[in-house]
């Protein structure tokens, strides 16, 4: 069994696992980080979205072996100092969920967007999240939540 070293949610981790295994399964089965979800296994639904070196990535398609030395952030790693990430708070405030299964992927994809574009308009949000499916159909609220988080982030950092 090979060992892969990577940083997960800010902590250096040595993972003893078959490097052919997908990051999603390693996170969920070996590291007890179940926030990222399986939805399709082909990168079509976005439920498994994590940040790899700050960029949104589909963890169901990433082999563990390709992640040596990289930094992975899951939804569990977004809280800072016991405070919710502005997107997490915005999703709560907007009621942007029903069953909640897509929520982690949406929030992480949204976080990636806001890193690149701190003030996205509705069209940019829809475009950035097009690969994430909410089967409950809360899309309109999710767009509103990302907008609100962007506005809140600008206010607090500015």
């Amino acid at each position: 069994m090979a060992t892969t070293e990577l940083v997960v949610n800010g902590e250096r981790r040595r993972v003893d696992a078959d490097p052919r295994r997908m990051l999603l399964s390693v996170l969920r089965e070996d590291l007890d980080l179940t926030g990222a979800k399986y939805g399709c296994g082909e990168g079509q639904c976005g439920a498994c979205t994590v940040l790899v070196d700050g960029q949104a990535a589909r963890s169901c398609l990433l082999k563990l072996g390709a992640l040596a030395g990289k930094s992975v952030t899951t939804v569990e790693g977004l809280e800072a100092g016991g405070r919710l990430h502005p997107l997490q708070q915005a999703f709560l405030d907007a009621g942007a969920m029903q069953c909640g299964y897509c929520t982690a992927g949406m929030i992480v994809a949204g976080a990636s967007l806001l890193r690149k574009n701190p003030d996205p308009d509705e069209g940019e949000i829809r475009h950035a999240l097009e690969g994430n499916i909410c089967r409950c159909g809360t899309y309109t609220r999710i767009v509103a939540a990302v907008r609100a988080a962007a506005a809140g982030t600008r206010t607090t950092s500015g």
Partner: protein, 717 residues
């Protein structure tokens, strides 16, 4: 249908799973052993209700007239625990039920814990479907909570020796304003072991006086969801857990000829099992299980299956009841043939709907664990007690040995009524001697779950020169009887549902057949309007006396600005309305057709909805919007493609579901009828969109499309 204006909530054929009704007895000492001292109020309902769920199978001579349906415990620490067999699948029942309890108990929502859908802890419940949680479970919990509140007032009156009329329950305490005495609920129940069983004749707070209920309260476990802390079934783990995979046949009905499990068994940590046609493996992680499954060598013998292209023909030619429609699914008044013969305008059209898949974002999953001959299964199902029965039957053990627990689940939409995943996980766990989690792949979910039934609907109608409907004949083959009746005033009617064999496994779906039946009926109304030279809204209002349906139709049309803009080849408008499961809905849709590409997009949808008194306006709006978005898929592009026993599009890259770019401007008009009991809202708002879009497409293109999905590849320019 003036003589039958009352909306009956008819059990849908595909929801009539015969399950035995259980008398759930929790002896007094058990309550307190499990819950600790305090106060318990339980609601008993007449067991006659249970007969609809197969009560005939109950042992004869059963003397107990009542079944417990819900109960509530208040502990010495003031913690309020509410027990219901309902499951949370994204409809926000955990929140809405907490709200009604908080309301009656005069206690903050945060003091309430909902214990849901656990066969060892909660009362028997048929299942979470049919939009029954709000109209049935919520009033029951309201009564339990109201009775508990009155008991707490009694306790305080006795303890303080004061007149109970001078006491006020407020903020989880009873207060005596004259003496300024105050005791929290926990304090009042200290040392008590009080049990009260109540009937349904308890007075509750009327809607106009609702304080907590009737308002928008955030999802109670929302923080767990946004942080990823909430554990869905597929997230759970147990010590020594193995991951399962099941070998699937290459086509429906194929028979297993041979299977060589040796190469799989030889792999480290892998268990492989064959039991009849069932072959499965379990391994230390999901990749190991997938590799082991690949190592199994199996030979299957296919059996002939209908061709996908012949679906609708097949449905017409394969009735399961050739003698005629089930009388429960037939309605006749007057003489439709004579009325049609005399009608000034006659029309006849056939509509079809495809099979569609639920595509819950969390595919079916189960974690099974055996201990000393007893089985515990965590699984995302809408019918925990039904699944318990399935498990007991599959393993030939008494139901007392089976516990089914439903974690809040990654949606269902009617797709998670059955227990196959639970049975498969339990079979594997039995073979492995360790807990096994089985999470279906998306492809398994698309292939081995069940679908919304496909169907053929034939409508013949007649109307007078004045635009009044005189005759309505409707035959629905296979898609189901829900919503098959017309709400319009038609003196001569013949309406029949015909059960047929189905090439694919089929079952419940959000809104059931009401979507198909409304698509056919409302499309036909549009066709009649065109034939009569009337506006679609005008024709409907001319033939509609039901005031609640008129109210939503007029509200939607007004908000939409119906009739204010003329349709063009690039833009069309449509509307539809209907009644289902006690909810009244009207939808107006605007459709844009890009030229010359023929790409179709719904650009605006206005939904007016009325379901009696509103419990939580924000969650209701969320349900309405979600229903409309889900409806978009079935209306425009979703369909299960199959041939010769195989699904040809069993992946999200091949089966399109609505995404961000598909979502129109959504406007929701909620009509709050505080004078009427609340009806459920998770399903009915789905039914109006497809016919409204069909009408809008016709307005833009002049071509009438009578099949769902309407434009899977856009329209030919």
């Amino acid at each position: 249908m003036a003589e039958d204006a009352e909306v009956r909530i008819e059990a849908e054929r595909y929801e009539l799973f015969a399950s035995p009704a259980y008398r759930f007895e929790v002896p007094r000492r058990d309550f307190f052993k499990v819950l600790g001292a305090g106060l318990v109020v339980a609601l008993a309902v007449p067991s006659a209700r249970a007969q609809e769920s197969g009560g005939a199978r109950r042992p004869p001579g059963d003397a107990m007239p009542n079944e417990l349906s819900a109960w509530l415990h208040i502990g010495e620490d003031g913690r309020i625990s509410v027990y219901t067999g309902k499951a949370e699948v994204g409809q926000n029942a955990r929140t809405s039920l907490s709200q009604v309890v908080a309301e009656e108990l005069r206690a903050p929502i945060a003091s309430i814990t909902m214990v849901m859908a656990d066969t060892a802890l909660t009362p028997y419940d048929m299942g979470t479907f049919g939009s029954r949680t709000t109209p049935i479970m919520a009033p029951q919990l309201r009564k339990v909570a109201a009775a508990a509140r009155e008991m707490l007032v009694d306790l305080a009156a006795t303890a303080w020796g004061v007149d109970r009329a001078a006491l006020v329950p407020l903020d989880a305490a009873v207060v005596h304003p004259p003496s300024r005495r105050r005791a929290g609920y926990g304090e009042l129940t200290k040392g008590q072991k009080l049990v009260k069983t109540i009937g349904e004749d308890v007075a509750t707070t009327p809607a106009p006086r609702w304080d907590t209920a009737g308002h928008s309260v955030p999802k109670v476990n929302g923080p767990d969801i946004v942080t990823g802390r909430h554990k869905y079934t597929s997230d759970l783990a147990r010590p020594g857990l193995l991951y399962g995979r099941v070998l699937r046949p290459p086509s429906f009905g194929a028979v297993l000829v041979s299977a060589d499990l040796g190469p799989a068994q030889a792999r480290t940590g892998v268990t492989a099992v064959r039991d009849g046609d069932f072959v499965a493996v379990a391994g230390p992680d999901s990749q190991a299980a997938a590799d082991a499954l690949d190592a199994v060598r199996a030979e299957w013998k296919p059996v002939p299956q209908p061709a996908g292209a012949e679906l609708f023909d097949y449905l017409k030619k394969n009735p399961t009841d050739p003698q005629g429609a089930d009388p429960r699914s037939r309605f006749v008044s007057g003489s439709v043939d004579e009325a049609r013969a005399a009608a000034a305008t006659r029309l006849e059209s056939t509509y079809t709907v495809a099979y569609i898949a639920h595509v819950p974002l969390e595919p079916r999953a189960a974690l099974a664990e055996w201990k000393d001959g007893a089985l515990t299964v965590w699984t995302g199902t809408q019918r925990p007690f039904g699944v318990r029965t399935e498990l007991a039957e599959a393993f030939r053990i008494p139901e007392e040995k089976v516990r089914v627990i439903v974690p809040d689940t990654g949606s269902g939409y009617g797709g998670k009524h059955t227990g196959e995943t639970a049975i498969e996980a339990a079979r594997l766990a039995k073979a492995a001697g360790r807990p096994v989690k089985l999470a279906w792949t998306r492809e398994e979910e698309f292939t081995w779950a069940y679908f919304r039934p496909a169907g053929v609907i034939e409508i013949k109608s007649g109307a007078g020169a004045d635009g009044r409907l005189t005759a309505w004949e409707c035959h629905n083959y296979n898609s189901g009887p829900s919503g098959i009746r017309t709400p319009y005033d038609v003196p001569h009617q013949k309406i029949e549902f015909h059960a047929t064999r189905s090439p694919l496994r089929q079952g419940s779906y959000r809104g059931l057949a009401a979507t198909a039946n409304h698509f056919a009926r409302e499309s036909h109304m549009d066709e009649l309007a065109q034939a009569l030279g009337l506006d679609p809204l005008e024709l409907r209002l001319k033939n509609l006396s039901d005031p609640r349906l008129r109210a939503v139709l007029q509200a939607a049309a007004e908000r939409f600005g119906w009739g204010k803009v003329k349709a063009s080849p690039e833009r069309g408008f449509g509307l539809a309305c209907g009644v289902e499961k006690g909810g009244y809905v009207a939808t107006c849709a605007e459709v844009a057709v890009a030229r010359p590409s023929g790409v179709v997009k719904v650009t605006r949808a206005v939904t007016a909805f009325e379901c009696g008194a509103i419990v939580n306006p924000d969650h209701l709006k969320n349900q309405v919007e979600g229903s409309v978005v889900m409806a978009l898929g079935g209306a425009l592009f979703e369909s299960v493609q199959f041939d010769a026993g195989a699904v040809n599009n069993p992946r999200l890259s091949l089966y399109r579901v609505p995404r961000f770019s598909d979502v129109p401007v959504l406007e929701t008009v909620l009509l709050d009828r505080k004078d009427l009991a609340p009806a459920g809202a998770g399903e009915t708002p789905i039914i109006g969109l497809a016919p409204a879009v069909a009408g809008a497409l016709f307005a833009a293109t002049g071509v009438r499309r009578r099949s769902l999905p309407l434009a899977p590849k856009g329209i030919e320019a």
